[in-house]
């Protein structure tokens, strides 16, 4: 129950942050979206054994968290399930790729271990970058930016509605869970015999609720064809932000910063 409550609160919290009046919120959504995409593309293009350069890409995230007053710690906490998944995905690397490249004390360091950490970091950084985008840009603005880069309307509408329906779905889960627990107080979790009917009714109720939400949007003029057309120009401040961030990302990706800094001291 607490987990569902927390999930609902997290989504509300993200929504609230996205509509906050912070510095990053005022940057044009297209600029933020493009910078995030460029960041992820540059990040994923780094060689799988280049752990140092991958680590250097974290500077962008630290900078964003400072400018946007965002907590990396909280972000990681909210994303722990995804992080676990990333870990599972990367765990095969040290098993399959056992070439020893160095030793830390007596512990051998293999290329598989390096590639696992690189993969893990790339995953974490890419997710954090997307998460920070969502925290500083409302879903409507993200959809608007997607429209500006000519993403098909149908896909944008799906993105927006999925996001809106997450809450609807979670609230239905919460209601069904409470109703079940009230009548099965000694049961830990949901008995497997009840899974089918609970999932079935959850689906039907969620669809009904989602339908009403959509009707409510329609009755207040929502039209996927026109909703995302705002025609707001990218302002000067956003252009400056774009140029600075792009320059930073290019430096982080192509200049071995940590090596240069290390060279000063050695």
């Amino acid at each position: 129950m607490n987990k569902i409550d927390n999930a609902i609160k997290t989504v509300h919290h993200m929504d609230y942050y996205a509509n906050h009046n912070g510095y990053l919120n005022k940057i044009h959504p297209l600029v933020k979206l493009l910078i995030t995409i460029i960041y992820i593309v540059l990040l994923t293009s780094i060689d799988k054994y280049n752990l140092v350069m991958t680590l250097a890409m974290s500077i962008y995230l630290i900078l964003i968290s400072i400018i946007g007053d965002l907590s990396i710690k909280n972000a990681l906490k909210n994303l722990k399930v995804v992080l676990l998944l990333l870990f599972i995905l990367g765990i095969a690397n040290p098993i399959l790729d056992r070439t020893i490249i160095t030793y830390i004390g007596i512990v051998p360091v293999t290329t598989g271990m390096i590639s696992m950490f690189t993969l893990l970091l790339k995953g974490i950084f890419a997710i954090l970058a997307s998460y920070f985008l969502i925290l500083t840009t409302s879903i409507e603005e993200i959809c608007y930016a997607l429209k500006m880069i000519h993403m098909p309307n149908i896909l944008i509408t799906v993105v927006m509605l999925i996001y809106r329906y997450i809450i609807v779905f979670l609230k239905e889960v919460q209601r069904i869970w409470v109703a079940y627990q009230m009548r099965a107080p000694k049961q830990k979790g949901v008995h497997y015999k009840a899974w089918g009917s609970l999932i079935g009714s959850l689906m039907l109720r969620s669809i009904d609720r989602a339908q009403v939400v959509y009707e409510s949007m329609e009755l207040r003029g929502f039209n996927p064809d026109t909703f995302f057309v705002k025609k707001e120009k990218v302002d000067k401040k956003s252009w400056v932000y774009f140029c600075l961030m792009l320059a930073l990302l290019i430096i982080l990706r192509f200049v071995p910063i940590f090596e240069i800094i290390g060279g000063i001291f050695i």
Binding site: H12, A18, V213, R220, G221, N223
Partner: protein
């Protein structure tokens, strides 16, 4: 003005007619209550009025426009529909964002959106809630916020579907005061006959999709036999007398 002429309707796949041969007219500035037992067809009428169901027979004319696909945008701009469940109506993160949703969709300028939003919030006395997150609102506040979301469209017609469900007495009273202070045509469907008594001059009683009575609210709500024959009871305020 709303004109409903010879309207019949069945839901997809159902042989039973939900609405059968309905006729009524509602003039501007009228407050009309639509009452009836569960399944009588109250909510269906409302859905037909706003074009959420279009496969009806007959004619529904709203301000000289027939309710059909090509007129829906214009018609919906004139109608504010407040849903029974406020949680389904309020889907944006904050009250302000939700109230501003409709004016933004209709393409008003930023200044106009802001002016309409603030005006709507002020008209029902909840301007202090504008930055509040929706999930932090109480049931009564959600209902008032739901009304504000449609008032920002400046509609000619306001429709309320079972508006007092889940409201405590204080919030119910507050809602009634707000409802009575609103101008324009109002249509309220409810089982809460005291609400209808307090807010509507005219009442339409429906049963099994047919109009049983259409006339003065006091006349019908004092008619115990008529109400009981159609699955309803006298309003509580009249039972005590």
């Amino acid at each position: 003005m709303i004109e409903v002429k010879e309207v019949s309707f069945s839901y997809n796949g159902s042989k039973k007619q939900t609405l059968s041969n309905m006729n009524f007219k509602i003039e501007n500035e009228e407050s009309v209550g639509i009452i009836g037992a569960n399944g009588a067809g109250k909510s269906t009428i409302l859905k037909l009025l706003v074009g959420l169901e279009l496969s009806y027979q007959g004619n529904i004319i709203i301000n000289n426009l027939k309710v059909e696909k090509q007129n829906l945008q214009e018609i919906r701009q004139k109608i504010g529909y407040v849903f029974q469940d406020s949680d389904s109506q309020l889907f944006m993160p904050t009250v302000y964002e939700d109230v501003a949703f409709a004016p933004r969709n209709y393409g008003f300028s930023k200044e106009e959106v802001d002016a309409r939003t603030i005006e709507a919030l002020k008209s029902i006395g909840i301007e202090e809630l504008q930055d509040r997150q929706i999930y932090r609102l109480s049931g009564g506040e959600k209902k008032l916020a739901s009304i504000a979301t449609v008032l920002s469209m400046k509609p000619d017609i306001l429709i309320f579907d079972e508006p007092t469900i889940a409201l405590d007495p204080k919030n119910r009273r507050r809602f009634i005061n707000v409802l009575n202070s609103l101008k324009g045509m109002k249509i309220v469907t409810s089982h809460d006959l005291d609400l209808i008594y307090d807010t509507c001059d005219r009442t339409i009683l429906i049963a099994d999709g047919k109009i049983i009575f259409d006339g003065d609210t006091k006349t019908i709500l004092q008619n115990k036999d008529l109400l009981e024959n159609n699955g309803l009871e006298l309003p509580l305020s009249l039972q005590r007398r």
